[in-house]
């Protein structure tokens, strides 16, 4: 291998150098956004139109189901969506966390999301009548199944300590059939499909990671098992523009571009050095 190729390879294989360079590049991109225009993805517009056309007093079930570490790609699209739902002012919102670690997301929605966009009371929503935080349900398959067939029996007490059976919102909510729309914010989108939408034929909007899109979301969407989806910060940025409330997702787009360009250049450089090695190896022979 030539000396130049070797030194380039050594530099690019130096983990602290590469990792540090990436972090610095991201910090630079976050601190100096270019403010480029955003092209709205048709899927984000579809979700927006669905939310906008919901009938008044529609019962919306918002399910959070993912661990804390994955929040970076789950929260950016949920913040503007929750803002949109609350801004409507005439919907019934049921928030719940199902599955391991789900309650962390519930706490985050409670303490951080509402802190940024305002608590539901700011939008004229009354707790127990217009919105409710049902807290967390442990388990996986069986909790989805039980919740679908007996909502009040599976929850019993909401996060504020109220009996759900005594809340006005639950007067006509007993099974999954009584909800009008399910919004699932998590990684395992097959769970609500299997236990809720298949049996009760409810529209399902999935908010998930970009990584889940190819193998997890697209097969369901193209088979008609999901109505629409928002994946990652990119969709979050689209939705922030649609609800006219630019925030964290729009601010992160330049950093997203920089990191992709960084990784592409590393991969291309790695392949170029590999080809140069092969050519030099052939020449040496």
């Amino acid at each position: 291998m030539g000396k130049k190729t070797e030194s380039v390879l050594r530099l690019l294989s130096n983990k602290p150098f590469v990792q540090g360079a990436l972090v610095l590049a991201l910090i630079f991109a976050l601190a100096n956004p270019l403010g480029l225009p955003i092209k709205i993805d048709p899927m984000s517009k579809k979700v927006y139109d669905i939310m906008e056309n919901l009938k008044p007093n529609s019962k919306i079930l918002y399910v959070a189901s993912a661990p804390t570490g994955t929040m970076g790609d789950l929260i950016p699209q949920s913040v503007p969506l929750i803002y949109h739902l609350m801004r409507r002012g005439n919907l019934k919102l049921f928030f719940i966390g199902i599955g391991e670690s789900a309650d962390h997301i519930m706490i985050y929605i409670d303490s951080e999301v509402f802190k940024r966009i305002g608590y539901p009371e700011k939008y004229g929503l009354v707790y127990g009548e217009d919105w409710v935080n049902l807290g967390y349900v442990a388990g996986r398959e069986v909790s989805y199944e039980n919740f679908a067939n007996d909502v009040q029996g599976t929850i019993l007490i909401d996060r504020e300590g109220n009996r759900v059976a005594e809340l006005p919102m639950f007067e006509d909510v007993h099974t999954m059939a009584d909800f009008d729309l399910v919004i699932y914010n998590g990684e395992k989108s097959w769970m609500p499909i299997q236990y809720w939408t298949e049996k009760f034929h409810k529209p399902l909007i999935v908010l998930t990671h970009t990584a889940m899109l190819p193998i997890d979301v697209i097969p369901w969407y193209t088979a008609g098992q999901i109505t629409a989806y928002l994946c990652g910060v990119r969709s979050g940025a689209d939705y922030e523009v649609l609800v006219d409330r630019p925030g964290g997702a729009v601010a992160a787009l330049d950093a997203l571009s920089i990191s992709h360009l960084f990784l592409i250049s590393l991969i291309l450089l790695g392949n170029i050095t590999y080809m140069v090695e092969k050519i030099e190896g052939k020449e040496a022979k």
Binding site: K15, P16, Q19, G20, V23, L26, I27, L30, A31, N32, P33, G69, T70, M71, G72, D73, I75, P76, E100, S101, D103, H104, G135, Y136, V137, A138, R140, E141, V142, E145, L156, I157, W190, I193, Q194, Y195, E198, H209, T210, A211, M212, L213, P214, I215, P219, T222, A223, G224, Q225, C231, G232, V233, G248, A251, A252, A255, L256, S259, H260, L263
Partner: protein, 207 residues
């Protein structure tokens, strides 16, 4: 730029920097961060489990729902796992969990995933489709079948099977590549969130 005076924001920033300190070297600072997060994960998970038990089991039991003694006993039997002598008793709660999970999975996987996915692929071609659309629609079941053949047939991939499963193999590699690209986007966002906290919440950067 106004650095935050909130102690919580300062602690969050210190934790993020401690977490990222491994980039430079695996030091005491990172070990502290690592052990802290492990302790927090275990502690918080136990809190949520505890609250669930209080809500679903204890409160109804204290209000007269005597039948809740049974799940209380089942839940307590899980802890016999820690004893060598009585560990066999923990089978009962494990059986309840396993039986409910797998049997729900059997029925739902067949109806929703297997039939649902096949049904989704076998739809009539919509009217007004271009030749490009028709080719695309036909590619999907061909790729699906070739990937399934690649996975499920354990005999040697030669002859006709070899050629078809080759399509499946290349399609699989292509799809994994696309997944990798999306995976990159997701993981970048995981890095961006704590960095935003440092820049905007702690350092008070305004852009």
């Amino acid at each position: 730029m106004a650095i935050s005076t909130d102690i919580g924001v300062w602690i969050a920033a210190i934790m993020i920097i401690a977490g990222y300190s491994i980039i430079i070297k695996n030091t005491v600072v990172f070990k502290f961060a690592e052990r802290t997060v492990l302790g927090l994960v275990a502690g918080t998970t136990a809190v949520f489990g505890f609250e669930q038990i209080i809500k679903l089991l204890w409160i109804p039991l204290t209000e007269g729902k005597i039948v809740n003694i049974i799940p209380l006993i089942i839940a307590l039997l899980l802890f016999t796992r820690l004893s060598k002598e009585y560990a066999y008793l923990s089978r009962i709660p494990i059986i309840v969990l396993v039986a409910s999970g797998i049997s729900l999975g059997i029925t739902r996987n067949v109806s929703t995933i297997i039939f649902g996915q096949i049904k989704g692929m076998l739809k009539p071609i919509p009217t007004g489709s271009t030749i490009f659309d028709i080719i695309g629609i036909l590619i999907v079941p061909v790729v699906c079948c070739s990937v399934l053949l690649f996975f499920t047939y354990t005999r040697e991939h030669t002859g006709a099977l070899g050629k078809v499963s080759l399509i499946g193999r290349y399609a699989l590699m292509f799809a994994l590549g696309v997944s990798f690209g999306n995976f990159t986007a997701t993981r970048t966002n995981y890095v961006i969130l704590p960095l935003k906290r440092i820049l905007f919440d702690w350092l008070g950067l305004v852009v």
